[in-house]
Subunit: 343 residues, 2 copies
DNA sequence: GTGAAAGCGCTAACAA
DNA sequence: TTGTTAGCGCTTTCAC
């Protein structure tokens, strides 16, 4: 209830001076500033962001749009964004599409566009034309983290290269029968990432003179359960079984490993498994993976946006974020019997 | 750039009528409403939440305060809150303390109190007196999910009962040598939950005529890695080894299982493990657990808050959220040799 | 170094 | 059903 006015009255100053003092602007006598601060404390003054937002046109808040919250990658990007924002004194407004069930259109129209935010980070989404237009209208700087899309600048790893790196690691070990657990994720979310990783897989195979078998690319929906289900399906395919599996995310890889162990087989003796991400559980699960740093990607994207809000530099594209092959013991050369069979 | 005024000019109406039409208030001719809507669309009108917030005193946003983001429980509560909010047309502002590193005081003073939110959900935090005072000043309805604290109403499971339930399950199987992996979490965050679960453990043991060995309660920091580390420590204690372990969270239980398997032992043949939470991975890991539903808790808390904002009912306390023992195969009677030794 | 006054874009009486 | 008129609490010229 206490506003800048009470403080003005209390200190015998004008609201203008109080406002300046509170924000620590120059051109205010030091004693005045401290008097104002003291009064503010005493009165329990709480600034109104609506009022200052209205007056300045800036909300000091950044939006983050995610398909769903509950995914390793998103959560880690969020942490990175949050850390950067906290330092800058910005608030974080989280918009979730709510997965396939949540209605996407409403989020775009209702929330994001209420001019509550100064900038937007989008995670792994590809927009449809209407959405692009809405975003255009809103006129705040935007950046996509995690999946490239047409018409929006993007920060993240080169997914195709990462997919190829994972596949090449398996090829290098001598595998030729390599399956892929990818994912359409759900309902049009996140389509760029799985696509590119799959492309990398196919290209790496082709480069090795192997053509991808269609029935060996299965959908793991980018979740543990999905990966497990997909792997079960792969194992049930009687007769011909791959010797290695490349999962497009660690969470799916964990699921795959679980399914393999359930089936009485061993990793990597019977089957090698590699993932992408660098999930914390990876070390304990001994998962070989292509690791990336979503925290850093989130922080970097945020720093770019913040710099633009400050009127500093502007970039239209960014170098790919780094990734790194981490070899642990979920991958090994194919079993001897198989090797003989192939040669 | 387009405001309510342009629409007023364009349609030949007053801003008041436009405002009413845009919000779908009654007492506006249907044709007028649709004319306004059309004009708004055509002009690409985007409402300013700052302006309407200033005028109404409501921001239509709810704050969520978390110790860190990256934890199974928090993420799932967030999903529940978000789902409820999306439906109500509210935005979600996420405040993270940023773990032990982030400075807690700043979050409280700077952000939350900027009157940007109409209500607040706090996850698993216990406040110090200064923080309580700040919250009091801010005057919005608040509710804590996940850990009871003095002076704030709270929603969540009865942690003591859950701890006892887990311990009793092990006792019921015949275990008498039961260790506990709990956690201080980090730096004063989240102290109520681990404390109560530990209390439940001790009480259940006592009720069975067993006194808890101090060296068998270890800190797993509520993380996978922490649980793994704690379990390793427990196993290295030469000579006397427990026959069962109760971990205060599934994530720690997964870490413990990993450590046990690493050590060449088997679950549940050599050691039984039980957790608390109901993590998705639990089924695949075959973890017996006391499961709870954080999504529901988040959604319920949000519904309560929203009802209060609407001037409907107000409650000062809530029934405990349900939990349920899910028996899978990480728990079994103690090994025969051990059993003989004890009897 | 400080004050007066005019908004920022919307909502909410009160009239008409 | 619609318009008029004040604000909401802060920032920001422009004077002094």
């Amino acid at each position: 209830m206490t506003g800048i006015q009470e403080i003005a009255r209390e200190t015998g100053l004008s609201t203008a001076t109080v406002s300046r003092a509170l924000r620590g602007l120059p051109n205010v006598k030091a004693e005045t500033t401290s008097a104002v601060r003291r009064a503010a404390d005493r009165l329990g003054y709480i600034p109104s962001s609506a009022a200052s937002g209205l007056a300045t046109g800036r909300s000091r808040a950044l939006g983050v749009l995610v398909p769903v919250i509950n995914r390793w990658f998103y959560v880690n990007v969020l942490e990175g964004i949050d850390a950067e924002l906290r330092q800058a004194g910005y608030d974080l407004i989280l918009y979730s599409l709510g997965g396939p069930a949540g209605d996407r259109e409403r989020v775009f129209h209702r929330s994001i566009l209420r001019r509550r935010i100064d900038a937007l980070v989008v995670l792994c989404l590809v927009f449809n034309p209407d959405e692009s237009e809405q975003l255009q209208l809103a006129e705040f700087p935007t950046i996509v983290v995690g999946g490239p899309g047409p018409g929006v600048r993007h920060m993240g790893i080169d997914d195709r290269a990462a997919g190829a790196a994972a596949t090449n690691h398996l090829l290098g070990l001598g595998h030729t029968e390599i399956a892929h657990i990818g994912g359409e994720d759900e309902l049009g979310l996140n389509i760029a990432v799985p696509l590119e990783r799959h492309n990398g897989y196919v290209e790496a195979l082709n480069a090795a003179g192997i053509s991808a078998r269609e029935e060996w690319t299965v959908n793991g929906a980018f979740s543990f359960e999905g990966g497990q289900r997909a792997m079960r399906g792969l194992l049930e395919t009687a007769g011909h079984r791959p010797t290695a599996v490349f999962a497009a995310s660690d969470e799916m890889a964990f699921g795959a490993i679980t399914a393999i162990v359930e089936a009485g087989l061993r990793v990597p003796n019977d089957l090698s498994v590699i993932g992408i991400d660098g999930h914390q559980y990876g070390a304990a699960m001994r998962l070989t993976t292509v690791s990336q740093n979503p925290y850093q990607q989130g922080a970097d994207a945020t720093r770019v946006l913040l710099a633009e809000l400050d009127g500093r530099e502007h970039a239209d594209s960014f170098p790919s974020a780094p990734f790194e092959l981490i070899v642990r013991s979920s991958t090994a050369p194919p079993p001897a019997s198989k090797r003989d069979a192939t040669w």
